[in-house]
Symmetry: C2
């Protein structure tokens, strides 16, 4: 999905919500456990319920890899389900990959070609040859970890180098390797005020913003500091939506939470 298509989707649906599909077998409704593939069952119901209120889905691959072969099976089925049934939703593999050039090329082919994802999150520590292979595919996106929403982002990302935060340096350098058509950045919503400095560096790039909701970030603040004329934001919520209930009404409640966020977003568009 290219940038124009993404912006059109956002403007048509009047939201820029990304639903994070992070299924934890200990948190999904217990009555699903006896199904053949509980995680896939859970996901498809969440996807169907929330699709009208979001423009993107983002499975975090860790939640699937943790369960080995059965988890990978659930992941691949989930990716296929989204691509088949919701082809106009941006499909993001939250895999945080980063390796030497040849290896990143293998990952890029796996996620973009074989699994048909639109985007993948990548870690910047290993530098240019770890990221550039993800920029070689028309209509596909590398989403670089810039400023993450976790506590540990203070350790390196928020160190100052000559009075400039390291994450700004990372975003600026990585942006020079790609374009606003093939690169986005992860920017945690718990640091909304830091968006001003980021927007000076990447005024037009899309930012993928986790941390709204369960992690404490405010949608209003994110929009105030991050919105552009082309929107330029994808705001992710995982736990706040998918675990809104663990009863029979879990999909319905997830839809309610997604709709609540989408409704708030529509005010800012």
């Amino acid at each position: 999905m290219n940038r124009t298509e993404l912006i059109n989707q956002i403007k048509t649906k009047k939201n820029f919500l990304c639903v994070g599909l992070d299924p934890d077998i200990e948190k999904i409704p217990s009555f699903l456990i006896d199904e053949e593939d509980p995680i896939y069952s859970f996901n498809t119901k969440i996807i169907d319920a929330t699709a009208p209120y979001c423009v993107a889905f983002k499975p975090n691959t860790a939640f699937y890899e943790a369960y080995g072969l059965s988890g990978i099976t659930s992941l691949e089925k989930t990716l296929k389900y989204i691509k088949t049934n919701y082809p106009t939703h941006l499909l993001i593999a939250d895999a945080k990959r980063g390796d030497i050039g040849n290896t990143s090329t293998m990952y890029a082919k796996a996620f973009f070609k074989r699994l048909n994802c639109d985007a993948i999150t990548v870690a910047p520590y290993m530098g240019s040859d770890s990221i550039k292979p993800f920029l070689q595919f028309e209509g596909k996106w590398a989403i670089v970890l810039g400023l993450t929403s976790n506590e540990g982002s203070a350790d390196f990302q928020q160190q100052k180098i000559n009075d400039k935060y390291f994450y700004l340096n990372v975003i600026e350098t990585c942006a020079s390797w790609g374009t606003k058509e093939n690169m986005m950045f992860v920017v945690g919503a718990t640091k909304a005020n830091m968006l001003d400095a980021i927007r000076k560096i990447v005024p037009e790039h899309f930012l993928l913003v986790p941390g709204v909701g369960a992690q404490g970030g405010s949608l209003q603040d994110v929009c105030k500091h991050g919105l552009t004329k082309d929107i330029g934001l994808l705001v992710n919520s995982s736990r706040g939506i998918i675990y809104a209930s663990n009863q029979k009404d879990f999909a319905e409640k997830a839809a309610e939470e997604a709709k609540k966020m989408a409704d708030e977003m529509s005010q800012y568009i």
Copy 2:
């Protein structure tokens, strides 16, 4: 495998070689392709042939994940084969993972408990809560990317902050979260002279050194700058060993290359 056991293995076998299992279906001998699981067949033959000349095996998970379910199956079978047949070899999952705390905990359980690996490589960009979960398992290791052997390491790792390279900062900070009993660092052999500064910061930690052989690093230089009284090094070679031949004699040739490195190492111990 704890530190004492690892050091004993190295001293008994008189080498500190790690064989990287990075199987590429386009590079393995063509006569293996018709087997039920060509990658597993390739791996087991390489493992059997090289085990006498190494103390560790390191599958790079990317090479398996790229093939989807069949690749993950090959990986899990390979890990099990090593643990069953060569329990005194250190088993390293080269996965370069790094995510927020809860997610890293899931990865740690998956690699250490379910897959029974001894060690996993981790990326430091997301900071403490992305790494600490890997330090909670007795006899298991987090191997933090410090200075990698690829070209892109120049982009961020080798930036200077107040006259100090960023990778030194990363190694120093990460070292404070763990001990020499549960943490190692990846330090590329193509930068052997940089080992002096690293050894000032982590005089006793084990370093996992890729880049010797195919990537141009010199074993002699690495030993000169990196060896400690407890050895303190694991030197990895992947392509130089596993692709020494793509004919019927591939395992034999791999053993020859491994033996050559092990023999050189024995001089330095």
